[in-house]
Amino acid sequence: MENKYAFTLTPAPHETALELLRECNLFTQVYGLSLTQAQMENLVQGHDRALEETGRVEFGEGIIKKLITAFRTSPFITQENYEETLFELQYAFYYFKGEANERIGDDELIGYMLSVFNGRAQGSLEYLTQTALPRLCRELRRGKDLHDAEAAGR
């Protein structure tokens, strides 16, 4: 198709994303978790890079708020590893959405990540991203539904 008047999709403006993270700080502080301005900026840049590297386009406010909301209660997340964990989870989320051939919804994937992270991974991002998620995606690509894929991926 002719591409004379293409338009450009850009990720949400950084200021919007930063504002969202500031809001998140308000409800994570009770769990002893908060992000500094520098950490927030790092996460926002990581978000853009994750989308670019995984070849995805996002509409709306992104996934970071959902990740924070889900993982803020995890006993394996502390103030010390909070930013690094979010950074890794964010990248893993986009990467494995593609690896699963889009066969899993956002909430389902986050739910699975949280369940494994708090369960058999015992807070190990390495186990989550190098063992559990690849297994789950392999089973989903084989056509299994989420329930069966989870069972087979154990």
């Binding site: 004379k4 338009f7 999709l9 989308l51 070849g55 995805r56 386009v57 593609g98 889009e102 909430d107």
Partner: protein
Amino acid sequence: MGEYALSVIPDFGKMPAELTHAQLLSLSERMRSLLARRTALFTAGESSSVPIETAQALAEGLSLSLRAYLDESGQSDRLLLRGDLEELRARGERVLRRRAEQSRELWNTLCLAPHIENRSLCDTLRSIGGFWHLWEPRFFPQELPCDIDYQLIEPVPETLCGVDYLLEYLRRLYAETSLLSHFDSARAEALLQRTYRDYKELPVNLCEPVFDCALGLELLGSDILSIEMTAESLERLSELFEPMSESAGKAALSAAANTLCAKLGSSDTLSLDYFTRHAMSLHPRIEASRCTGSLGGVFTPTAKD
């Protein structure tokens, strides 16, 4: 920062006047919102992100639907700046669905019509039969979920896509089949046998050799329905073209194609344009063949006894 240029309004250059920068920005934002809504519908709200290829395909689908409505209704492209884009897209989808119905009727007619046996034609018609089950006009109207292998005399322009491509393909195929049906099938098959040897199995066009032969006979004022091109007829054709300039040769071919179509009852605009274009495209081949001594490569000759 990752940026993605998505093609959403092809042919937007048809706008009567150039858009101002502010209008382009406004249009981009409106398109972005529409694409976001379509993506949410496509993922059933379960995913806030999609692969760039999916976003591009959804954008192309929007573009095709909007273009279909604007072209069909004769509305100015400027309507995109102020109209409800989702409503315009939905109207475009209805236009495309109507075209899909037209193509289904044509396909039904073609399936019921008797035609000369040819594997690629049969496979193509069979595969097209699945189109209406697999086509997704809501999201990807630009796709053509079937295999079209049978070669037409003149291929459908690649600028067409989805149901527009299919409809044009079927119209052309119908024009060819209708024209071919006026000839005695035994004579046509004998001609095809001489032209291709294994016309039933090869992916070849069935109408072209028959039309070309009849065209040559029309130029000579002979019986077109005989589709018998003798050596003497070939010689006379060569002599006919010898003194002609390129424009005169093309004019003669064009006039003969018009007369031929009229005699065969294929006088609708599509058939006339289609076969006239093809007839004129024969001129370079005729000239090249004349230089080598025989027009037998253009007009299949009758077998020698």
